[in-house]
Symmetry: C2
Subunit: 236 residues, 2 copies
């Protein structure tokens, strides 16, 4: 683990241990430098990381402060999208409906940047948070990149598996969101009625080299899903 990542983790833990609130002041740069025995740029890089993740904000001429948001019950949009597996204390479980190898449809192939003749794994799940239906998910993995999946792996975190067992690291992802109405099948899985509102998110996950390896469509239970996004900016 890199120095700046360790320092970021240490500072985040310090915030949690001390149960610091929004606006509480952290030690100044110079102290962090000597405390961790690293150069200014390394501390700065750790702080940038925390800033991007919404943990702190920095104010030139003044100091480094804790940032929080005040809505328990809202999940970070990114925590549900393969990044931080951390959902706080909540327990995530899945019913696996399907794991199979097939040929992709035109649409799926286009999103994965492959030809329809290539094999893909199709995974279909209903996911629960603390026992409540959370979403219905249909996702496709390029078999050339993810050569093996089974129901057991898929019941757990697929991303943990591809990362630890296959050494695959995710580079970046594109999420497409829109609101619509449930069809009959989706309503059945979610325990809702047809035509009820829903949030749909399609995500294309890319490897670090830019190649798509996973295309996923998630249909959320509108009553059990609310998200928070902490943004920084403007960027320029």
């Amino acid at each position: 683990m890199l120095k700046y990542q360790q320092i970021a983790a240490a500072i985040e833990q310090y915030i949690n241990d001390q149960d610091l609130k929004q606006g509480d002041k952290l030690p100044v740069l110079e102290q962090l430098m000597s405390q961790y025995g690293v150069s200014k740029s390394t501390v700065t890089k750790a702080l940038e990381l925390l800033e991007r993740r919404g943990v702190i904000f920095q104010l030139r001429g003044s100091g480094i402060f804790v940032r929080r948001h005040n809505r328990p019950g809202y999940m970070s949009l990114f925590s549900t999208q393969g990044f931080k597996s951390n959902l706080g204390d909540r327990v995530l479980t899945s019913d696996v409906l399907d794991v199979s190898i097939t040929k992709p449809s035109e649409d799926v192939a286009r999103n994965l940047g492959i030809d329809v003749s290539n094999d893909v794994y199709r995974v279909e799940r209903v996911r629960y948070v603390d026992g409540e239906v959370f979403c219905y998910e249909e996702s496709y993995y390029v078999k050339a990149i993810v050569p093996y999946l089974n129901r057991e792996i898929v019941a757990d975190s697929i991303f943990d598996y591809v990362q630890s067992a296959l050494g695959i690291t995710i580079g970046f992802s594109d999420m497409y969101m829109q609101v619509g109405r449930l069809n009959e099948t989706e309503a059945g899985y979610l325990g809702l009625k047809m035509d009820d509102p829903t949030l749909r998110i399609e995500t294309i996950f890319h490897l670090t080299n830019g190649k798509p390896f996973d295309y996923s469509r998630i249909t959320y239970h509108y009553e059990h899903s609310q998200f928070v996004v902490q943004a920084n900016g403007p960027y320029m």
Copy 2:
């Protein structure tokens, strides 16, 4: 304007001018250094900026590549949330329904971190993209920070005004999203029916010093709003 921002802007313009596609390779670091006459870290910082914004991705040992997404018609979630005023070629207009000074409700006061005895500006608008109803917005500005607003300012971009006229710079924001059903009033403004699905986003905008100055509730027209979010990660 800072060097690394200038370089970021120049590189982005170069990508657009050359109409580069996803995966196209950019000049290597060393060339960018000499081309712009700056040190390695400055180029790196410019590239980080572009990477965070989903414009490029960098692959160690290989190069710097253009990143794009392939869904015309999807707006960046952040472009509609006060950050980049750039919506591409689309024209954004507003009907101003209300601009007035009032006392905040309990709820609004809590979100703005002020007491209910403080004055706020209330702004109510219906917003259009290329003439199509896009969203209904109700927002509150802390009068102690934004001392003056009128219908003319509000018909345009409020953020441009507070930034250029008042010298206020936004630091960060917390967005809370959920899906629900329209009530009768909202349905009227959006030209939809009561109980139609909708995406609701509440956003709290903070100054660079962490103080909230704007709390806004937006109700989107579900057929005219679809968003893209380009994420990088995992962060740690």
